[in-house]
């Protein structure tokens, strides 16, 4: 008897509702994936404003859920379990989703699973590429996170191998976009500019790659400052800033460090599969370089399609389905959202 899992995501600026079907053989099928984004409301602030995001979640939640059920051709009464992002994320934003999830669980008399957003980014890949081999390595890159994770079991066993010590990769994109006069969020415009530029023009620093640096940690703060300094110096000399070349060179530095460390981690631990997910996974240079290096190292590369990589409810529903399938105990209806939920806590 297959089961329908409803997933609710509200950790940042996307209100996501996903529906998946957990089949008896453990396969997880995507039924609906509806997202309402408040990104445009944050653009003029140059970053996500938590209160603006929280207000938008409350407004969008039920209408987005309605759209999800409609597109899946399901009724609320078809739901067998509910999964919700319990953390990490913005406290007030998480609270909206968690509160709603508890109420849905109470109204529909089905179990609730408070789950980890980061694990969701990995679990979403099973919707496209099927079950994950054990172990596999995951590189999560987005505006909020930059992490290398070892996944022995998506429902129960995830360990951090490395993470950023300062900015997330996506944050560096936003800041560099601002330096270059490109719009927020910075990922897509930098990717477009970089396509017209030469990545070898400027040798920007590769953070955390010195002999004494932590092997699998990342740092993007120095890179962001180096780009700003380079641009300011060019302006001072009265030169026109070669935006495309700066974007390409910056993007090359980011993609180089991310893929080098991920491939090295996989090789050193004898792991044969790398999953890259999160909003920055859609970056064209990152995926191209990862493909090249994984191929050279004999590693299978899995990158979910862009729609699945960014924050959404389907990833939470998918993770919820794996947690249900693993027989993990359900969460109480008194759980708290945890803005700093550690990555090794897959469900509460």
């Amino acid at each position: 008897m297959s089961r329908v899992v409803l997933g609710i995501e509200s950790s940042c600026d996307e209100t996501g509702i996903g529906l998946v079907r957990l089949h008896d053989d453990g396969r997880v099928e995507l039924l609906a994936d509806e997202v309402a984004s408040s990104v445009e409301q944050h653009a003029r602030f140059g970053g996500v404003v938590p209160e603006v995001a929280s207000r938008a979640h409350l407004e969008a939640l039920v209408p987005t859920a309605d759209r999800a059920f409609e597109s899946a051709g399901l009724k609320l009464s078809d739901v067998d379990a509910i999964a919700v992002t319990a953390g990490p994320g913005l406290a007030g934003a998480l609270l909206v989703g968690v509160s709603a999830a508890k109420a849905y669980a109470a109204a529909l008399e089905v179990p609730l699973y408070g789950v980890n957003h980061l694990a969701g980014h990995i679990a979403v890949d099973t919707l496209q590429h099927g079950p994950l081999p054990s172990p596999c390595l995951a590189l999560l890159v987005s505006g909020g996170h930059t992490q290398l994770l070892r996944v022995d079991d998506i429902a129960t066993a995830i360990t951090e191998i490395g993470s950023t010590v300062d900015d997330a990769a996506g944050e560096a994109y936003d800041k560099v976009a601002r330096v270059l006069g490109l719009p927020y969020p910075g990922g897509p415009p930098i990717d477009r500019a970089a396509a017209q530029g030469d990545p070898k023009v400027i040798a920007f620093p590769r953070g955390m790659t010195g002999p004494r640096d932590a092997k699998f940690d990342f740092s993007f703060s120095g890179l962001k400052t180096a780009v700003a300094r380079w641009v300011e110096n060019a302006e001072r000399r009265g030169e026109e800033v070669p935006v495309n070349d700066v974007a390409a060179s910056f993007q090359e530095a980011v993609a180089d460090v991310l893929t080098a460390k991920a491939v090295r981690a996989a090789t050193e631990s004898g792991i044969g599969t790398l999953v890259i997910s999160g909003g920055v996974a859609a970056n064209s240079r990152l995926s191209a370089l990862a493909r090249e290096r994984c191929e050279a190292a004999g590693i299978e590369l899995r990158v979910p399609r862009p729609r699945l990589c960014t924050d959404n409810g389907a990833m939470i529903a998918a993770l919820g389905a794996h947690v249900v399938a693993a027989g993990v105990a359900e969460s109480g209806l008194d759980i708290s959202a945890n803005p700093a939920l550690p990555v090794d806590v897959v469900s509460l």
């Binding site: 003029r44 929280s54 207000r55 409350l58 939640l61 509160s99």
Partner: protein, 218 residues
């Protein structure tokens, strides 16, 4: 008519079950905890506990009444998200009620009065009511000062009695009876509820970035 009421617009986390027969509101069970940091944790357990005590299954409930503020944002949203999802999940209407009106519905000073609640940041939310409890002004948010009435209900009245220059009367928080009473007309008319929109009364704190700081000396 079986009604579920909830409110998280003040430090009180309130959920209850009541019947509405004609104009009579009878509270069957209620759970209240005063803890401004536990709205998200407690509201669903409270409403389930109240339903259990009232020996009512949620799917028997005919309508939901939800306090929509004014109130500090985060806690307020916990209750409103709960009510919205509950109404959606049960397929029943959710009727919004101004939390100050719910307090006013249970205050009986016999003269025109205020309802004042704590808005934090040394400000209060307030509204003015006539002697019959009908709102005539507000809701507003501002620093506590004399507001033209000598009597006030609500926890803000208690906290700032001196600066408001008021005699304080109960209740201090919205409760089930007041919430259902304040929604009574809409419930009895069986009309479609007004949209479930929070009364924030304040804009989000957000500043547009000024010119980017240079990293090199000019």
């Amino acid at each position: 008519m079986l009604v579920l009421a909830l409110d998280t617009s003040t430090p009180a986390v309130t959920a209850g079950v009541a019947t509405l027969a004609g104009a009579d509101v009878t509270v069957l069970a209620e759970r209240v905890t005063v803890n401004p940091r536990a709205h998200g944790e407690l509201i669903t357990p409270h409403l389930l506990a109240a339903a259990r005590e009232a020996e009512v299954a949620l799917r028997e409930v005919d309508a939901i009444v939800c306090g929509v503020g004014p109130g500090p944002f985060t806690g307020l949203r916990a209750g409103m998200a709960t009510a919205a999802a509950l109404g959606h999940g049960l397929g029943i209407n959710v009727y919004p009620v101004c939390g100050l009106d719910a307090i006013a519905a249970q205050a009986t000073p016999g003269e025109p009065f205020l309802v004042v609640t704590d808005a934090r940041r040394r400000e209060v939310y307030w509204a003015a009511y006539d002697e019959h409890g009908a709102r005539v002004d507000g809701p507003h948010v501002q620093a506590p000062e004399p507001l033209g009435r000598p009597v006030a209900a609500g926890d803000g009245a208690r906290q700032y009695a001196e600066r408001l220059g008021v005699r304080v009367v109960e209740p201090y928080y919205p409760a089930t009876a007041g919430l259902v009473t304040a929604a009574r007309e809409a419930l009895l008319a069986g009309e479609a509820p007004a949209p479930l929109t929070p009364l924030y009364l304040r804009r989000p704190d957000a500043v547009e970035p000024s010119a980017r700081k240079r990293v090199t000396a000019p």
